[in-house]
Point group: C2
Chain length 475, copies 2
């Protein structure tokens, strides 16, 4: 791999400048006014794919959407292929070319859409630098490097780049399902680089995500809000009922009180338990992130297990009650309490919703209130976990060891990356999350950055990963 690494090092400035070109296109998918920039960013990528002689470049059109009162064309899902040698494994890589909104006045040191490389720190600042323009470009520079060296790519590569990830990936799932037996037919494994190292020092492989189930409890009584002087003490108040029921969901220590909710949670195996040793993480990392010392658990192991592999329940708010500053003495007529459960293997959204409904309705019945409860479970997404012993993970692990001279942390994420599960279920092939940036990159925050080391060694990592995939699949 030495010539590959040398070529990447030699082209460092060029790769950084190309990232700067991409950052300069403000492809904010959540802002109707910036939709032309999202489309322009897609075209920029298509031109790169053409220059690199990818074949079968397809711009799949997911249709239109209503946003901020206008009908907008959705940006294309860009599919492209590099190599079609049936003797080689085929690796599908996913990334997104849209970004989160960013305004200088939100507290950015520099213009968010004008790349700045800080000499002293090596940090490359700009919206999209780490989420997710840096990673998707890295895949392209791997191909460019092999071409420049006249070297054959060790695998067939397929790319799937979308432009709506930060806005709910509208239309993506349908396209993936439609192409499962077409464009993606020969795919052997999937690699997604769209998350982050656990800390700032050690690379990771990510093998799990929690799911999320959302719930709404609507409690209603009177037809309109009442004056608490006139009616307080004489009618059943929806807010009182709601607080009674919602206070029965979870303890202040995070234990969910819904009977049966833990029954389907996978037991911790000895092998899994071992993954929690020597992680690049300390409780101080949470304290820094939250600027508080409000952690529940005393050890890194317990803390991360509760982030990654145990369910949690959070209360989010109440719709219909008084929420403004100041004092108002209203009795709200109809209130909707909102909460969600982060779910884990082997829980299913269906079973969770069943248990929550039964419990909530039972607790409400105990109140003997004359108000009315309406239970709704509008959303439920499953958790995801991969086999860390599968060849896809073995290849990535050995690539990390070669590039970074260290064993990666094997991590999960407490949140969800829905496309992971979509690929898993539509293609039924191993999916790997291979993060490039660090935990402090500020992906959805101000001053987003990627470190030059993460970007440049990241290109090497992706190249090495493809080599290792070719090796392990040959064995």
């Amino acid at each position: 791999m030495d010539p590959v690494y040398s070529h990447i090092d030699a082209n460092k400035d060029r790769f950084i400048n190309l990232l700067g070109e991409a950052i300069a296109i403000p492809s904010v998918s959540g802002d109707a006014a910036q939709r032309p920039s999202v489309l322009a960013m897609g075209q920029w990528l298509v031109r790169q794919l053409e220059r690199l002689e990818f074949s079968s470049i397809v711009e799949r059109n997911p249709g239109t959407q209503e946003l901020q009162g206008v009908t907008l064309a959705l940006p294309p899902v860009i599919l492209a292929t590099y190599g079609t040698d049936p003797s080689k494994p085929t690796v599908l890589v996913y990334g997104h070319y849209d970004v989160q909104p960013a305004l200088k006045e939100d507290g950015w040191k520099y213009d968010p859409f004008q790349m700045v490389v800080e000499e002293e720190t090596g940090r490359i600042y700009g919206r999209g630098s780490t989420d997710d323009k840096g990673p998707i470009l890295a895949w392209l520079w791997v191909v460019e490097t092999y071409k420049a060296l006249g070297k054959e790519l060790p695998v067939n590569l397929k790319v799937c780049f979308e432009g709506m990830e930060e806005s709910g990936s509208e239309g993506l799932d349908d396209i993936i399902k439609e192409e499962a037996n077409n464009y993606f037919k020969d795919v052997d494994c999937v690699c997604i680089s769209d998350n982050y190292w656990l800390g700032t020092k050690k690379p990771c492989l990510t093998y799990g995500l929690r799911g999320v189930s959302y719930f709404m409890l609507e409690i209603s009584g009177p037809a309109k809000d009442l004056h608490s002087g006139v009616f307080g003490g004489t009618v059943h108040e929806p807010m009182t009922d709601l607080f009674h029921v919602m206070s029965k969901l979870v303890t202040p220590q995070g234990k969910i009180l819904i009977p049966g909710i833990y029954d389907d949670v996978a037991a911790v195996t000895t092998q899994e338990d071992a993954l929690y040793s020597n992680l690049d993480f300390s409780l101080a990392d949470i304290h820094n992130a939250t600027e508080s010392e409000t952690t529940i658990h005393g050890s890194v192991r317990d803390t991360l297990m509760h982030r990654w592999r145990f369910p949690s329940l959070s209360l989010h708010g109440v719709e219909g009650a008084f929420y403004a500053p100041g004092a108002k003495t209203v009795i709200p007529a109809k209130v909707t309490g909102k909460f969600s459960i982060r779910s884990v293997p082997n829980q299913t959204p269906e079973r969770i919703a069943e248990l929550v409904k039964e419990y909530v309705e039972g607790e409400f019945a105990k109140l003997k209130s004359r108000n009315t409860l309406k239970f709704d479970a509008p959303q439920g997404g499953k958790a995801w976990v991969a086999d860390v012993n599968s060849w896809n993970f073995v290849a990535a692990r050995s690539a990390i060891e070669k590039v970074f001279k260290t064993s990666p942390d094997l991590t999960r994420e407490g949140g969800s990356i829905p496309v992971t599960l979509t690929f898993q279920e539509a293609l039924n092939k191993s999916v790997l999350l291979l993060p490039m940036g660090r935990s402090d990159d500020g992906a959805h925050s101000t001053n987003e950055k990627i470190d030059t080391l993460n970007y440049i060694e990241g290109i090497k990592l992706l190249a090495t990963y493809l080599e290792e995939v070719a090796v392990v699949t040959k064995e």
Copy 2:
């Protein structure tokens, strides 16, 4: 009293038309743009007082206020005197000439600032008709009637009309305290006509009001809102703590759970208990008002006792949490739960705040949370109760019997009318609430009205009340 009654009947249309003039001045105190109309309404009243030859007419200026970004002159508190005979008792009457906002498009049948008298029903529609322009004008037409008949008023009358009642009575308390030993020095009793009959058929005297104490529980943890995927299960969540504490305040049946809170509540005496018989009220009245059957208590007696003479606790809302429609999975960093207690004799705001603070802090401590609780009791107003056997009430009761040929209901209000307590404490004289309108007048709602019967018989009632005051104070 026959000539007085005949003169009032003969001038019915004239008194209604004069009310129409007042309704046509949109004196909305809560709207900066309509402040000139509030001032104009004050001037209209001053002209009437001058025409009726009131003496010592004073426009007390309460200063200025900031409203909707502008500095506005507060409307004057108008003081005036009719008669200064030291051998007669002096009655102080209070009312307000400002009104609630009203827009035709809110659902009014007619233009709210254009009086309409419905022939069939006798209803006089218009903003302010019952709250409180009808009642304050009625006092003036009593004087006009005596003057027209060449009859001496049986008492000395002092009026106190304010223009900010619907917007917190800014500046009024200070003026009342300042004038207690000056303008109001010789006052023997106070009469306020600014509330409503309990039902629609029977006149009332009102002898009690509940107080209100407002509370805010701020629970904070992280410095900013957190992602529930990343942090759910690992940190103490302020919302969870808040729901646990707030669910411990009151049962769904309205029983307050704060130890000691009922200790100071006055016991029900036999005499008081008797006042709850034969009231013009049924549970159907609450069901109609709330358009629901969510009453807690099975009898009128229990229901009204819990509105009038037992404390109640209502949860109003949460500041800082997610309140909009839709699903959001945030963990709010700082939330403020808001609730209030309607208090009764002999509870004091100080003792209530003490008990609430101790209990809430104790319940929070039990949670063993690492979040922080901040307790605040920003407002507390005392309950008020009058002696129904005092001569002021005896006079009013016999006036009602003479005009309406029926005994009045003796009622309380569940809400507060703060000026009542201010007069009570500043003057240390009996205060009486003598309502003119009915429970269905829609005082703060659309289609506000006063029935012709209530307005015209109301003028007779006020005249007769003054006669009876003269009689009972002579005995």
